[in-house]
């Protein structure tokens, strides 16, 4: 009986471990500082997590398909700079679709290299991280981009507006999460993404066009990045070339925290959202506790490893690795 109970606990932990950890953090931080759970703070954390979150949604597709995307940070800088630049040149109504088209073109290039040419995604996106940064600097001439008329543009609605008292970035994040959650869990495309990531050869032997599926995952990722760039640009109406630098690792950390396996084939949008929120609340909570910024680094380290460790430990039914 005792083993059975232990097993049940194990399986609950395995399925909902990350959610439980999340609740524990919230309680701990709330005890430390009651302000933590104030509606203002929650809204503020979710809003500032929205950009990271939107990017993480796309990367979830890429990771489930068994690949990586380290280029999302510099791609986000690119889309932010481009839309800000075009805003004054061709007007926001045109700037937004043009920026999306340009960003998606970059995603298509990566998707082509990884999907159709079957190149290693870690190295391809590492190369693109550098190349897109160069592209952005060339595009902007290294200058900050700012919108001339900051008060008069409706463009600010995506980053600064509210609807029904809720900031628009949150609405975009939630809507996109719901939409992509449905795509991943309910559509044929989503099913194929899992199949390709779980066993690419078997997927091919089942008539799934693997290259096309991977390609579309990078298109998804680029679309999410473009959306994040839009929110970012609209939020600050001006930006530096380095605005997205380093975000690729935070995004990846969020997706991994959510329980997606780097080997592909597992993960969900819901879990990624939890991963994003955990990162956001940890950062915010530590800041509220008045801890130095570097404590965040160390805590994030410990939490990432613990979360992934407990997740795989529950799956294998053993805490310690069987490696001799």
């Amino acid at each position: 009986m005792a083993t059975l109970t232990k097993q049940q606990i194990g399986s609950v932990l395995a399925k909902q471990g990350i959610l439980i950890a999340f609740v524990v953090f919230i309680i701990a931080f709330t005890i430390a500082n009651p302000r933590f759970l104030s509606p203002d703070n929650i809204l503020s954390v979710v809003r500032s997590s929205a950009i990271l979150g939107v990017m993480a949604l796309g990367v979830t597709f890429v990771v489930i398909s068994g690949n990586l995307d380290l280029s999302v940070g510099s791609m986000m800088s690119f889309s932010t700079i481009v839309v800000l630049d075009l805003h004054d040149k061709i007007g926001p109504a045109m700037a937004i679709p043009v920026m999306f088209a340009m960003t998606i073109a970059l995603g298509a290039l990566i998707g082509f290299l990884v999907g159709y040419l079957k190149l290693n995604s870690l190295i391809v996106t590492l190369g693109m991280l550098s190349a897109i940064h160069g592209l952005t600097l060339t595009y902007s001439g290294g200058q900050n981009m700012d919108i001339a008329d900051k008060e008069g543009t409706w463009f600010s609605v995506f980053g600064q507006g509210t609807a029904m008292g809720i900031p628009v970035p949150i609405l975009i994040f939630v809507a996109l999460a719901a939409l992509l959650g449905l795509v991943l869990s309910k559509t044929a495309f989503g099913r194929k993404v899992y199949a390709v990531g779980g066993n690419g050869t078997a997927a091919t032997f089942s008539g799934i066009r693997r290259a096309r599926t991977v390609f579309l995952c990078y298109i998804m990722s680029a679309t999410c990045v473009a959306t994040a760039g839009l929110i970012q640009a609209s939020r600050s109406l001006g930006s530096q070339n380095t605005v997205g630098q380093g975000l690729e690792l935070e995004v990846l950390a969020a997706v991994i925290l959510g329980g997606a396996s780097l080997l592909g084939g597992s993960g969900t949008i819901f879990k990624t959202v939890i991963g994003v929120l955990i990162l956001g609340f940890i950062q915010n909570g530590l800041l509220l506790m008045g801890l130095q910024f570097y404590v965040q680094f160390i805590v994030t380290w410990v939490i990432i490893i613990l979360a992934v460790w407990l997740d795989i430990a529950a799956k294998r039914g053993k805490l310690w690795s069987p490696i001799a």
Binding site: T3, L4, Q7, L182, K186, T187, A188, R191, K192, Y194, A195, G198, N199, T201, A202, A203, T204, F205, S206, G207, I208, R209, G265, S266, G317, A324
Partner: protein
């Protein structure tokens, strides 16, 4: 008689909720070849892991000679003289033959250097015994699968082994290589080594073993002398019922030609292949590994581009450039590598089964899950797939049930042509006969079926006609009246009989 080299006494191994081994006791005498048989899931591999020190038994003991032996890990098992020849190749492709044979115990010089000259010398001595055509410095990745298997076997000869355990060693060997292997076993036997031989192949078991021990559902069923028993009685011990292994031929009318291949070639893999498959007919493809059978199937399924020739479906010439293409034209392939090519092990049963038609099962923008479950239920019942439910991960099923999922996946596509590559490789006897029966039934229902197999009894049992292949070419096509074991073996060994079909 002398003392046993290895004795198991009441071994019990439990996992949460499962009694994987329940009181297994038998002994292996020096110079004995001892067969261990049982269906998949009967506990053979768990028992091997206990012997190899990967699992510790909950109850019972292992004795080596007179001494009680505790295997704390693979190294200790090896040190005590137990050597494993694994079924799944366990080699490092980038390393040389010598390094693979002595993996884990490379000879050392000062500063931790590898003693290359000793290593090569020792390796070449062993390779000589095995009479193989490669040397110690060859890179393993450059060897054929069969030669890689020989490297695996060579490992057994490196240590002063007391007991050698062969786990399905002949799965990818040619007949010539098999006979070398049997010579090696005979040598070991003569040296007084105890051998445990695990195989599903009855003819081998009866050819080389002295005694047979049988497991069923983790329980020890007993040990019999090989010469006192026969296939039927052993099978009965394993599954508790009789097997039908008679020849088979269609008694129904054959339909139109569903698939015709004319002069198909693919580089060096095969050339000038011509055959046809009618509705209601099972055509068997028999030959050695590497004869080009699987490659033909892969070409028909759009996984390889042919370099010449024609493929006709229902009399119409087609070009098939991808599996999606093949599926759209009604061709289905049950691939030879179930885990690698057939299934996404981390996915559930239902999703695996409906994977090729997920685009067609639509409810608005979404996949129609109700329709999927209906399909799954239908084929679960029809194929008697034993699983707790569609949500079960395929990776948790037994080999036979996994194979049935793959077959169900392709049957549910209602194909014009069903290609089945090694349909029963590595699955237990019970599931095997069920699958054979199913293939016959499918033909009776009017399917055109191609069966590729390396097992002669299987080919003889299920085929209406048998295509014998050798080195990328069709040697001869036999009707079920013509075919005998002898002329089939001659044909696949490259001996022309002059009676082309």
């Amino acid at each position: 008689m002398s003392d046993p080299v290895l004795r198991l006494e009441g071994i019990v191994k439990t996992f949460p909720g499962v009694r994987a081994l329940d009181g297994v006791s038998f002994s292996v005498m020096p110079g004995e070849v001892h067969a261990l048989m049982g269906e998949n899931g009967a506990g053979k591999s768990t028992l091997m892991k206990v012997l190899g020190g990967i699992h510790q038994p909950n109850e019972g003991h292992i004795f080596m000679g007179d001494e009680k032996a505790v295997m704390a890990g693979p190294l200790e098992a090896k040190a005590k003289g137990i050597v494993f020849i694994h079924q799944e190749l366990s080699l490092a492709e980038e390393l040389s033959v010598a390094e693979n044979i002595y993996l884990g115990e490379l000879p050392r010089k000062s500063f931790g250097r590898v003693d290359w000259s000793t290593l090569e010398e020792n390796t070449n001595t062993i390779l000589k015994k095995l009479n193989v055509g490669f040397d110690a410095t060859t890179r393993v990745g450059d060897l054929s699968i069969a030669n890689q298997q020989m490297v695996e076997i060579a490992r057994a000869l490196t240590v002063d082994a007391k007991a050698v355990i062969f786990d399905e060693p002949t799965a990818s060997l040619t007949d010539a290589e098999k006979s070398v292997l049997f010579d090696v076993i005979a040598d070991l036997k003569a040296d007084g080594v105890g051998i445990i031989y695990i195989s599903h192949r009855m003819e081998e078991i009866f050819k080389i073993t002295d005694r047979i021990s049988v497991l069923r559902d983790g329980q020890y069923q007993g040990t019999v002398n090989t010469r006192d028993s026969n296939e039927e009685s052993v099978t009965q011990m394993m599954i508790g019922r009789k097997l039908d292994l008679s020849r088979n031929a269609s008694h129904h009318e054959l339909g139109d030609v569903a698939l015709e291949v004319r002069g198909l070639s693919c580089g060096k893999l095969y050339s000038d292949i011509s055959f046809e498959v009618r509705r209601g007919e099972v055509v068997g493809f028999y030959g050695l590994v590497g004869a080009g059978r699987t490659e033909i199937a892969e070409t028909l399924f759009g996984l390889r581009d042919p370099s010449g020739g024609q493929i006709l479906l229902n009399g119409e010439e087609v070009r098939i450039s991808s599996p999606a293409d093949a599926i759209a034209r009604g061709i289905s392939l049950v691939p030879e590598d179930r885990k690698g090519q057939g299934l996404v092990l981390g996915m559930n049963c239902r999703d695996n089964m409906t994977l090729p038609q997920v685009d067609d099962l639509k409810a608005g923008p979404f996949v129609a899950e109700g329709a999927e479950i209906a399909i799954f239920d239908q084929y679960r019942d029809r194929l008697d797939i034993r699983t707790p439910g569609w949500k079960q991960q395929v990776g948790n099923l037994s080999g036979g049930n996994q194979q049935k999922i793959v077959i169900g996946k392709w049957l549910s596509m209602h194909p014009n042509v069903l290609i089945v590559d090694e349909p029963t490789r590595g699955i237990d006897v019970g599931s095997k006969s069920e699958i054979h029966k199913l293939l016959r039934e499918l033909a009776a229902q009017g399917y055109a079926v191609m069966v590729i197999s390396s097992e002669m009894p299987e080919v003889l049992h299920v085929s209406d006609r048998t295509v014998a292949m050798y080195s990328g070419q069709i040697m001869r096509t036999f009707t079920s009246d013509e075919v005998t074991e002898d002329n089939l073996i001659q044909a696949i060994s490259g001996i022309k009989s002059g009676q082309a079909a």
